[in-house]
Symmetry: C2
Subunit: 249 residues, 2 copies
DNA sequence: CGTCGAATTGACTTACATCAATGAAGGTGG
DNA sequence: CCACCTTCATTGATGTAAGTCAATTCGACG
């Protein structure tokens, strides 16, 4: 059924398809954010092809050479890294319009694995070409700076959450963050399917899978959520907000 | 005694002194990292003056307009932000050669307070000038990207630590990180004075000040550290490493 | 229908927080 | 110079949120 996505251009990999940022409905939240039409045309030469990633597969793995970033075109990812003592840790979840691989610029090697949690597509963005095109499109640098800066802000928020919040607050904040990002993309912010396991949520939030599960049950008992396996329905966003930030009024 | 640092140029603020990156002994770890002599000369026009910050004062505060970054020239800082629910949290400690303010690029507002923990000096780097100079010095963009990327990598390491490690491991990792950064700067990595309180360490590591104190005592009892108030002497770095990453070999 | 990974729930343990008292260091003013 | 105060650090006693271990249950898939 989807055979039309398969290489009309025999030179490219089978799963690649030519695509332009200017035509992409994500360009308002993705890298080309805030560029003019003219500038967008130049950026179009950047992203040559899409790559499809099957559920469970990696876009890149920790330790491999960094050659560029990947914009999530569709689907859902987790990034995970193995810590010095062998335990592994989920550092984030990424959805359409978000960038993978920012942590590789520093060292020239990817610092984590980027794993697809469902069948997904990404737009590879070669870093050297990005850099040279950005010389003619100054807004592109600003855009990238902003994206990296936003990542830092987000990480700080997560650090705050891990350092200071209790299990219930963490889980509530996590759900609200998902909800808000879904809303931005035009999907339902109150009814959605979790793409990750309880264990992956727990790893991200610094909790065990049992605690995550119990917390979902608790929020359910309290009438704030409907949870059935991976299906989540937020019944009372206001109270969920309240759970996430106790003490604030 | 230090009056010679005070404005030989009456136009500048009293505590400002003209300074060049090319003459700065920090340019190997600071922003101009990896630039040629020629390029450095151009960058010299960027940083016009130093600013001194008294202990306890802020370089900038959360919510104020972002106008640029600040390179720590000397001294020691903490960054702290107030979370949505009113508690405050230390997001990092910065020493000579490190940049303050990266999280402000995203929103155009500073996301945290940057407080001097001892009398310090910073080099203000106006963002718009940085951006325009970077057009002629491409390495500067790469440098900034690398610095931001490194910040992301570090934040992920902290997240890992907060999510997965126990008190003793956190404190050990914290001391090792300090030690390593001191070594990079040519100071003693094994004998140093902590610039922050137990409470600030605790806030950063997601622990109470009591737990931090107890953990120091424990490491002392085990013969790994000498700790007397703020003075720390690492007696056995190898074992400290071992405490920080249990289970690894 | 049986198998397997994921999720839920319960009983028990523990690492760390909380509460509280005491002790050192450093700065200020008489 | 010493007495005083404030801030920071240490140490102990007790409480609790979340981890651990273990048993079911649920759903998806072959």
């Amino acid at each position: 059924m989807q055979t039309w996505t398969r290489s009309p251009l025999p030179i490219l990999p089978r799963d690649a398809i030519k695509v332009a940022c200017s035509q992409c409905n994500l360009h308002e939240i993705c890298l080309p954010l805030g560029l003019t039409e003219r500038e967008l045309d130049q950026v179009d030469t950047l992203v040559m092809a899409r790559r499809t990633i099957a559920r469970g597969d990696a876009v890149f793995r920790a330790g491999t050479r960094f050659s560029g970033l990947y914009a999530v075109r569709s689907g859902f990812f987790k990034t995970r890294s193995i810590s010095d003592d062998g335990r592994d840790h989920v550092t984030g979840f990424q959805m359409a319009g978000e960038l993978l691989g920012l942590d590789g610029i520093a060292t020239g090697e990817h610092g984590c694995d980027a794993i697809a949690l469902e069948d997904s597509t990404v737009c590879p963005i070669p870093y050297d070409r990005l850099d040279s095109i950005a010389r003619e499109v100054p807004g592109l640098h600003l855009g990238l700076h902003k994206i990296m800066s936003r990542e830092i802000v987000r990480d700080h928020a997560v650090m705050q959450l891990l350092a200071g919040k209790r299990a219930e607050e963490r889980v509530a904040a996590f759900l609200l963050s998902l909800s808000q990002r879904l809303r931005q993309r035009g999907w339902s912010p109150s009814s959605f399917l979790l793409r990750m396991t309880r264990e992956e949520i727990g790893s991200y939030l610094g909790l065990t899978l049992e605690t995550v599960s119990r917390t979902f049950s608790k929020l359910h008992e309290d009438g704030i959520l409907e949870v059935k396996q991976r299906q989540v329905d937020i019944l009372d966003e206001e109270r969920l907000r309240h759970v996430a930030r106790p003490g604030a009024d």
